[in-house]
Symmetry: C2
Subunit: 307 residues, 2 copies
């Protein structure tokens, strides 16, 4: 077992999961705790842009934790999205902005959740509450996480608090948020290196309600048609994933970050749950959802309410 | 459905559940929210002492909430300890100091938990973080909750933060904590009015791990022998409760608040879980647990780890 408390975001880490782990590491070290930020999967291209901008390395990758390992979860709480072995870990702290589900502890813990657009917005508030100075590096990390999660403030998950935090952080980081943010988001839309299997795993989360298990994967793009060139191969990859994981439903969101819409590829034995949720009919396994960009706010809960 | 957001603690409310509901009501009203503190059961004698000291009424009692009702939970999160209908309520906020379990939401929410001795200690910190003035009434309420939950700082659940908060609150309340606190705790040990059925319901909580359901009830006393005079009647009441609620195990803690020990009456088809948890053998359905006063820290998790 590791001596230090391990801090990590969810599997298939996005920019918030990586950046908030690093910021939480700094926060806890400032308070004198022995902690280490780690990650549960490959760093995506958007996050790589941030780390490259700062000239820093990604946290070390881990696959599982041993029984009794002290951990801090950021940007997630559902065990199905967390590290293997989480059920037997000692969860000391959670900082998150998602619903709470499929989560439990045997002991009291620190849990800080707020319904804001990004975990880093909550971390920003925690720095303020502790009167802790925010340095440039952490400002860039938090700002990047907020831009990523809110799609430059366009997502319906974005709140006034996210915007205020980002404005303050931009001053410390000495960054023009719109220029930097768009470059960062565009770096994340370069999907050319990915196999179809890779594509559906870039940012993929499992949800469950009783026995019903479904996956919602998402990629950001500036051109939906580009992604759809490989539709058949993507469908094959999704079908294999469904078979391997015993899923009822798989929703693959191809999100146009310029126009804020999503094209969905939907497969599984229970696609009627998706059709009911969005009052739509799939054609060629696809549906176009206007104005839908947020898995957390606009997709997962709507499906959960219709199964 | 009620227009206002309803704030409440757990069923069989203790002093922390009632006082923290009232303090949270004040906190949220200060921020401009329409809220009302309510309660899920009778006020116990200890809490009555506090309300009487302040010359205020107990919050209104409710039995259930309708679908979609906006609610704030204080001092609990497990649905089995909450209001009837909680599964379909809109949980906006939780402020608590217990483990998280048997709890889930469909949407993101405010959740603030810390592993401190009392919910009111967290509320005290929230007032501080918001630079909100604490008035005398709320100071008495919070101080009373802390004294109650920590048994005047003697419980192993008591932390440095609880003590610091209580010291500060005592200044605002202009109260000598030891004198007031002991009087308050003693008021709570007057069990003379209670039938055996009433006795096992004064402060009683259900826990579950999978299919295994157990109840831990607790009374405080200055004299264990006094309570044991009615042992046979209490056992009958417990057995009826087990039968009505399909429980595997019922643990009744009679806690000596002067010497910090507990006599336990233990019944059910799975008393071996209790015996294993505490490495003891029941005699006449009883076991004496030295130094054990905290259900949350010393009893519930130990049983949960042994079923």
């Amino acid at each position: 077992m590791e001596n230090k408390t391990l801090i990590f975001g969810h599997k298939n880490p996005d920019t918030d999961s990586i950046c908030s782990s690093l910021v939480m590491e700094k926060f806890d070290r400032n308070l004198g705790f022995e902690v280490e930020a780690v990650r549960l999967g490959d760093v995506n291209k958007e996050t790589a842009y941030v780390l490259n901008y700062l000239g820093i390395e990604a946290p070390r990758m881990i696959a599982s934790v041993e029984e009794g390992q002290a951990v801090v979860l950021v940007d997630h709480n559902e065990f199905s999205q967390s590290v293997d072995g989480i059920e037997k870990a000692k969860i000391e702290t959670v900082v998150d902005h998602h619903r709470i589900a499929n989560f439990q502890t045997a002991e009291p813990l620190y849990y800080r959740a707020e319904p804001v657009g990004c975990t880093s917005t909550i971390l920003y508030k925690k720095f303020k509450e502790e009167n802790m100075t925010i340095e440039k590096k952490e400002a860039v990390l938090m700002l990047s996480a907020i831009v990523s999660d809110t799609l430059l403030f366009k997502s319906p998950t974005c709140t006034k608090e996210d915007k205020i935090a980002c404005e303050e952080l931009a001053k410390i980081a000495e960054i023009d948020v719109n220029t930097y943010g768009l470059d960062m988001l565009k770096a994340g839309t370069d999907l050319s290196d990915f196999t179809p299997d890779g594509l559906i795993n870039i940012d993929s989360k499992e949800f469950a309600n009783g026995d019903f298990k479904f996956q919602v994967a998402q990629v950001n793009t500036a051109c939906i048609e580009d992604v759809l060139k490989d539709k058949t191969e993507i469908e094959n990859a999704i079908q294999n994933f469904i078979n391997s994981n015993g899923l009822n439903l798989f929703v693959f969101l191809i999100t146009d970050i310029i126009n804020s819409n999503s094209q969905c590829i939907v497969l599984g034995n229970n696609t009627e749950a998706f059709e009911k949720a969005f009052n739509t009919k799939l054609e060629d396994n696809m549906a176009f959802l206007e104005g839908i960009v947020s898995r957390k706010k606009q997709v997962a809960p709507v499906i959960l309410n219709n199964i």
